[in-house]
Symmetry: D2
Subunit: 261 residues, 4 copies
């Protein structure tokens, strides 16, 4: 946890690396918005999905436009926007560099074995990507976009690094400024309404701050103007979010009086 004055508070295995998975969707969205601006929203919506992170039903009903950038289909679209005709390794270099800059650490790497395994077993994501392509909502070949997607999801960080990487989302004076203040607010709004899949409403109700979870058990949560918090605990609740991580954040937010509401 990093507060606005730069203090770091830690507890537990804060130096163990874990797979951040979907949390990287926050960073790829920041990059995609930087590259394409509001044009991105013609390809992906900004509404909570009302269904599971990997559901394809909504995609058929809404003609291939994912509901938001944090469900898998939406994150595949933002990855596709970042890829933009380049070789996957070039896009990945940009993504990794963005995250390293945000975290202030070069010691952040992709776990190739995890990426390979995801590629091997990622039939659901392949289905989503081809489905998007069938609606002409994919600019690069599915395997290219997915290769990039699987790799950035396989990034590993420690909770300390993850908390550091979220500093730019605090919107605080002394914090790194990677994107405009207006965009910081909008990313936080998206994290609040869509950051925990179909458990986003519950997270907003109980914790009351923006956050993005990953299936690896991590959560990055932002207290605007005040703190960037990373938690990690692998057991997931039925929405696919860290069970204990959510509880810890609820307790912390209550004790610190950090609800944004």
């Amino acid at each position: 946890m990093i507060t606005a004055d730069g203090e770091v508070h830690s507890a537990g295995d804060t130096e163990t690396r874990f797979s951040v998975q979907s949390i990287t969707k926050v960073f790829t969205l920041a990059i995609a918005l930087g590259r394409s601006g509001d044009q991105l929203w013609s390809r992906v919506g900004r509404e909570p999905s009302g269904s599971a992170f990997n559901s394809i039903v909504q995609l058929e009903r809404e003609q291939g436009r994912p509901r938001n950038p944090f469900i898998n289909a939406g994150a595949i679209v933002t990855t596709d926007e970042v890829l933009a005709g380049r070789a996957p390794r070039d896009a990945l270099a940009e993504i990794v560099q963005f995250i390293r800059t945000a975290a202030g650490s070069d010691d952040i790497h992709i776990n190739e074995a995890v990426a390979a395994s995801e590629t091997q077993h990622g039939h659901r994501n392949f289905a989503l990507a081809h489905f998007l392509a069938s609606f002409d909502n994919l600019k690069n070949p599915p395997e290219m976009t997915l290769g990039t997607y699987f790799h950035h999801c396989a990034l590993e960080m420690t909770t300390t690094q993850l908390a550091q990487s979220g500093r730019f989302l605090m919107g605080a004076a002394d914090m790194p400024k990677l994107i405009s203040t207006a965009r910081v607010r909008r990313l936080n709004a998206l994290m609040l309404t869509c950051g925990h899949y179909d458990g986003s409403g519950d997270f907003a109700y109980r914790v009351g701050i923006p956050g993005k979870s990953g299936v690896g058990g991590g959560i990055l949560a932002i207290v605007p103007g005040k703190a960037s918090i990373a938690v990690w605990s692998p057991g997931l609740n039925r929405y696919g979010n860290s069970h204990k991580g959510t509880e810890a954040l609820a307790t912390l937010a209550r004790q610190m009086n950090w609800s944004i509401f």
Copy 2:
């Protein structure tokens, strides 16, 4: 608009009465939580719906439990919880009194003609109520609960009264305290994630504060700790929320730097 120090700022027809419609769902939810506490959540969820305000599809998929208290089906359930076996007029008296107290004005009334018309043409809501009943998620006879529902939605207020009625949701020191601070925050969280139906994500992204819209063109928006704002403009966008009201709030929030994110 009422700020935390009690100042009132007005513009336009602030003394014209209009039908607040779904905005009363905020008050009935506050009352229902007061009566039943967290037990209410066994009957209704806290997640954005991902579908229109009057959709019945989700209700079939999730076995008669509405996704949140602000879509019609959910508001029928909270009304049913408030009714609690009483005569509709008794429940309505409680609801009206709550709102009058919140607004600090006794000159707030139900428009009987509007209520009668809604009852006449409210087939979709009758469908929702009977559907809930078929899943045993209605404690009172459908016509009783709906009678109460149609009547509290037919309440008329001026924008000044509406802004006043939202003061207790500011959570500010000098404001009326009708419910606990913890519950205020939770109501605000629900308004942010679910207060504008399937346009809630967009409202959070563009305006950045909790709000609840009504089909009459009104919006009640809350800046936690800072202000309670009411706007009214009848033209609706495709999600059923006031088009100009949303724009006005977006401009105001940006100029006042009032985003919660």
Copy 3:
């Protein structure tokens, strides 16, 4: 079972009265087509539904037009067409008379207690009727149409009477001719594709003849040109069709070489 030469074959409790329930949908459809001709199809489709008999999901997706006349929503529409502004008792008199004529017996009656109970507990059907009304696909007040619907579904017949009542659907020379041959064929086609709800495909595959089931455990099956068969056995399979009745018909159709395919 009645064969085309008028022979009657019986086994079991053929003189016990049971509630024919949805089987009456065949007769109300015949009457509705007689009254309105192909205009009826602007209000209801002719396609298998792909969902349960009482599902409301399809109705929302297809704007209030039920998929076929044999799911509940569709049968409510055909009943509404038969009612046509009359008093329910007049429409019921027509329906009962049609069935008595078809069966060649006046000893066929509505069980008022069953009708009353259905009305009491028929929330799902009330939901469907109001939903249809919300799409302007109901010409009479919901309670009128439903009153008629619940009553004709509460008709009681013996299997002998039921088999007799299906003679006009054989399309055989010596059988009663209540509707045109072209219409007989079309009714049989609808029974084959839609007569067993979401188990229609399975019934066609395994039994191979048109049939209509009722939740009371009865099935009326037609072998075009050859026989009209009624079976009754209350245990239902997961689609809501008589389990043993289906098995008996499968065996009979195989032994008699009666598949239409």
Copy 4:
């Protein structure tokens, strides 16, 4: 058109080759049932789908089990069953040989250019295949099964050949017997209930005989015991079935009194 006594009746361009597309699903189903028997039904259902030929919604709702073998997802499963670990060319050889035998002609070939184009643009089918794989309902690698699928759909036949190839489905004494009579009937039942996608009910109602359409504009229709008919006319109706072909079959069936109902 071939009648049970072997007479051939022709009109129009009966010797022009066209892409039979989905009509081959009838033959692959016959082969799959021959290889695996009723075990096949654990992987695919027998019910009309109530949705479009390429819909993925049902597949998510029913956990990766396609509703029937004639929608795309179901045909991918039957192709997968026929492939059975072999090289695609071996499975294709079996399929082509089956059809040549059925048609009594060796001059039936796959159009490689069409197959290549389908592979190029077949994102929707790739999505379906990967989706099936994500539910473990694909035994071979998606690209293998799809390669086989795209190729057998790219088969070209003349209407004469197509009508000849359907003779075994007549179930008539003097016709080729490639599968058992019981299975012939079941294939015909499936064609009737599912052979025209979401227009199957309408086809049964208006034409009254089993048939299978292809997006190339062809329809193979069977009059059990009496005739095998092939029509071809490229313009499609809104369900994806030949518009004029359907009309021609309706007229023919009425004039010949060929309805099975």
